[in-house]
Symmetry: C2
């Protein structure tokens, strides 16, 4: 399932959802990414100062990846670039 994330909070939700799908606790996920349970907690809560490394490690541990793409405008999928 794809989740669009435009802020740290949505990223946290995506991580949490996936973690639960795999029936992992924060502690177990933390163990797989060499982070503490408390760190996973903050990440899932959408702490904006979380480090990129922490996010990417969690995604790797959960078998997720990111795609960077132009913002979709929901309505017109193919909106033209400014140039």
């Amino acid at each position: 399932m794809e989740i669009i994330a435009r802020d740290p909070k949505q990223l946290g939700i995506a991580v949490q959802r996936r973690r639960k799908e795999q029936n992992l606790t924060q502690g177990e996920l933390g163990a797989r990414m060499n982070a503490r349970q408390a760190t996973v907690s903050k990440l899932e809560k959408g702490e904006p100062a979380t480090q990129l490394q922490t996010l990417m490690n969690s995604l790797a541990a959960l078998g997720l990846e990111l795609v960077v793409r132009p913002r979709t405008t929901s309505r017109v999928e193919e909106l033209e670039e400014l140039f």
Copy 2:
């Protein structure tokens, strides 16, 4: 254009590519996201300790968004989950 990012470095590359497409300097992008040119520089270089906030602000300023999805396995696009 979509860019798959599995680590901070690839994220930095995605940001930089987009910034150049818009003919912006690091300083100009920084101004749009309330960050210093030096911060943009580190982000684009893939500094792993960069904060999520910094990344998300840059994406917003560039009209980009993230999609979180299961890792693609390149070969067999539809590989089954363990359960």
